[in-house]
């Protein structure tokens, strides 16, 4: 691509005819534009594929197949069930009887065996018993139970399971589907928006329908809080010192090289460091968002330092001279003039670092946040930091590793929640950045 002119010896030519050399150059430019467009088109294509597949696979997680049963229990029935050896199965029997009578009321004659109900709804007896033990005042009055259908029934309505592919197993018999259709026709089985997925907690491997991501969202939130509160001030302070105050010598050079290298260290290394230092040496609680946040802070610091230094470097030196020239001290110069100008860049770096930290799974693996079943919301701010919890990516990883296809769907749904969380974070950062920029 040399563009050296031909020299004076070329014959005179008209400006209206394009010479060969120019034509070649123009062609090269056209080709380059085409490459660029192709690259963008490929990128967009992948983006669309990604978005479509996430939405297609993830959206079903937000709906839930539910069974609505109006159920009344008398005091005698309650006492009777409580006195039996197998208490939950006694409740189960009562429940099935209620269901049968309701079907008959609506003129539906479907024969089913009690085992089918267990396949469709799981062990409902336990749920019912728990409810009445907690609300004994409800005995005798009709209560509407909304029970989650089993993963396969849920899959049947979402197209995951069909009559053609279903094989008789202890999870679902083909004949059960007739019952399901009948229940659906009379409105006992319905599909509803699954709030529990957003607000709920993780469940055991046998209950994909009840699993929610809410508790791990809180876990991630507390972790991000730790990362933000630690890495932003430490990172910015370190960058300001290195960029504006530190003398240029072999020691600061060494630090600089090391920071750049740390940014490229695999995150799992930080995970094992966190395990060794924070848990084994400092005896901080396992699986706690505090420890997760500390580990992710280590991982995020280099990113923030590098981007902060870059944005400090980008502030024109004339501004520093101007401030020094009117008698500002070095610190005043930095804090009154340089830092505000660098703030948008610092914010961008911070959000990139936080986004990385939010999606990081590998280090959480080593400090016990993966595989942990987050069953309950933390009780307060302190317990939010120190009580064992999971985080969104860890939760997604846990679900994806489970056998039931219902969990696979939840994993995709979890990805959507994760992306929404990330988007919210980015929007806040953009608004903040606008603020900073408008001030000038």
């Amino acid at each position: 691509m040399t563009d050296i002119s031909m020299g004076g010896s070329a014959p005179k030519s008209s400006l209206t005819t394009v010479d060969a050399r120019t034509r070649k150059r123009n062609a090269a430019e056209k080709r380059f534009r085409a490459y660029g467009l192709t690259a963008i088109a490929i990128g967009l294509l992948f983006l669309i594929v990604l978005a479509v597949s996430i939405i297609r696979s993830g959206v079903p997680a937000f709906t839930q197949t539910e069974v609505h049963i109006d159920f009344t229990i008398t005091q005698e029935q309650f006492d009777d069930a409580e006195s039996q050896m197998l208490k939950t199965s006694a409740y189960q029997k009562l429940f099935i009887a209620a269901l049968q009578s309701q079907l008959e009321d609506r003129g539906l004659e479907v024969s089913f065996d009690p085992a089918a109900i267990e396949r469709l709804l799981g062990k409902t007896g336990g749920t019912i018993r728990e409810y009445y033990r907690e609300n004994p005042d409800q005995i005798g009055t009709p209560v509407r139970f909304e029970l989650a259908a089993s993963s396969r029934v849920d899959g049947y309505f979402k197209g995951r399971v069909s009559r053609d592919t279903v094989v008789d197993s202890r999870f679902l018999m083909v004949s059960d589907l007739d019952l399901v259709d009948a229940l659906h026709d009379v409105g006992i089985i319905t599909q509803a928006f699954n709030w529990n997925f957003i607000t709920g907690s993780d469940t055991g491997v046998d209950n994909p329908g009840g699993a929610g991501i809410g508790v791990s969202v809180i876990g991630s939130f507390f972790m991000m809080l730790v990362v933000l509160v630690l890495s932003l001030p430490i990172g910015v302070a370190a960058s300001i010192y290195l960029e504006e105050f530190a003398p240029q010598n072999w020691f600061t050079d060494l630090i600089e090289v090391n920071i750049s290298n740390l940014a490229a260290v695999p995150s799992i290394v930080f995970g094992i460091l966190g395990l060794a230092v924070f848990i084994q040496f400092m005896h901080l609680p396992q699986s706690a968002p505090l420890v997760g946040g500390l580990v992710l802070t280590l991982m995020t610091l280099p990113t923030i330092i590098i981007s902060t230094r870059a944005s400090l470097k980008a502030v024109p030196p004339s501004i520093r001279e101007a401030a020094l020239g009117v008698g500002a001290s070095k610190m005043q110069t930095v804090f009154h003039h340089v830092l505000p100008l660098a703030a948008p860049g610092i914010l961008t770096g911070t959000i990139i670092g936080l986004a990385q930290a939010l999606g990081e799974t590998a280090p959480l693996l080593l400090i016990g946040m993966v595989g942990f079943i987050a069953r309950a919301y933390p009780e307060g701010v302190v317990s939010g930091f120190v009580d064992p919890n999971s985080a969104m990516p860890a939760q997604i990883y846990t679900w994806a590793a489970r056998a039931d296809a219902g969990f696979y769907e939840k994993a995709w749904g979890g990805i959507i929640i994760l992306l929404i969380f990330l988007l919210t974070m980015n929007i806040i950062a953009i608004i903040l950045r606008r603020r900073f920029e408008r001030r000038w």
């Binding site: 024109p316 004339s318 020239g325 008698g327």
Partner: protein, 266 residues
């Protein structure tokens, strides 16, 4: 289009010496940038530093308010005294010094803030105003001295960076005088300006002479001749000649000075 400003030039009478520099040496690493410069800069006088590029005139100027301190490899030796105080004395805080010795830079560099805040920044950090009214007075006085008040008085909250180049430079001069300095250093203040803006700034410099010792580095010999009473000619890090401007430009003693002002070297 452009004539020399028609203000009356006063000849330098007998004035006090404001800055006394003796045997100043400046090194950038191993590079000996300023060699044995000895010069007395007088109060209430415009002193021009002229010379070809890289001759050290800007470097020397920046020694006078210790702006070179910010460069790690720069080393200054010798003795520079302002009103008898050695400014490189260990007890001298460069921050205090720079409040006393204002500086205007080659490229207009207003802060990306409002016009008001540009002026008010210096007085604010030096605690010169007790309240808003006093600060308003300081800002107005500075802008008037910077000969830009009439142009900006209606838009003090507008960003300083939105002004034209010449206005920005006058704003920077106003900013420099807002802290009530005693010496004003100007590093090629007109090199980025058009002739009309240059004329305005030159007129302003002549007015500033009433109150300050002004030191101006310039590449334009005409400018030096127009605004200064004293001229110093630097060449390759040496102060070749220092005398009344009229003498330098009409009857220089050194042959190098003569060659430079007649355009044979430089």
């Amino acid at each position: 289009m452009y004539d020399a400003p028609h203000y009356t030039r006063q000849e330098t009478g007998v004035t006090d010496v404001k800055i006394k520099a003796q045997d100043v040496q400046v090194y950038y690493g191993d590079n000996h940038a300023i060699k044995d410069v000895t010069v007395d800069i007088q109060d209430k006088t415009v002193t021009a530093f002229i010379g070809p590029s890289g001759c050290g005139k800007s470097t020397f100027l920046r020694c006078l308010n210790r702006m070179n301190d910010t460069i790690d490899i720069c080393r200054v030796e010798g003795d520079i005294r302002i009103d008898g105080d050695d400014i490189y004395d260990k007890r001298v805080d460069p921050v205090q010094l720079r409040a006393k010795v204002g500086m205007v830079f080659q490229k207009p560099n207003p802060f990306p803030k409002s016009i008001y805040d540009n002026i008010a920044y210096g007085p604010r950090i030096h605690g010169m105003a007790r309240n808003k009214a006093e600060m308003d007075d300081i800002v107005e006085r500075a802008l008037r001295r910077g000969a830009i008040w009439d142009e900006v008085k209606d838009r003090l909250q507008a960003p300083g960076t939105g002004l034209s180049g010449g206005q920005q430079q006058r704003l920077c001069i106003a900013r420099a005088v807002a802290t009530e300095p005693e010496v004003l250093l100007m590093d090629e203040p007109c090199s980025a300006l058009d002739p009309i803006a240059t004329a305005q700034v030159e007129e302003l410099i002549d007015e500033l002479r009433q109150n300050y010792a002004v030191v101006i580095v310039t590449h334009s010999m005409q400018q030096a001749a127009r605004v200064s009473q004293k001229t110093a000619f630097f060449h390759l890090g040496n102060l070749v000649e220092y005398d009344d401007t009229s003498k330098i430009f009409t009857n220089p003693e050194d042959s190098r000075t003569e060659s430079y002002i007649t355009g044979r070297i430089g």
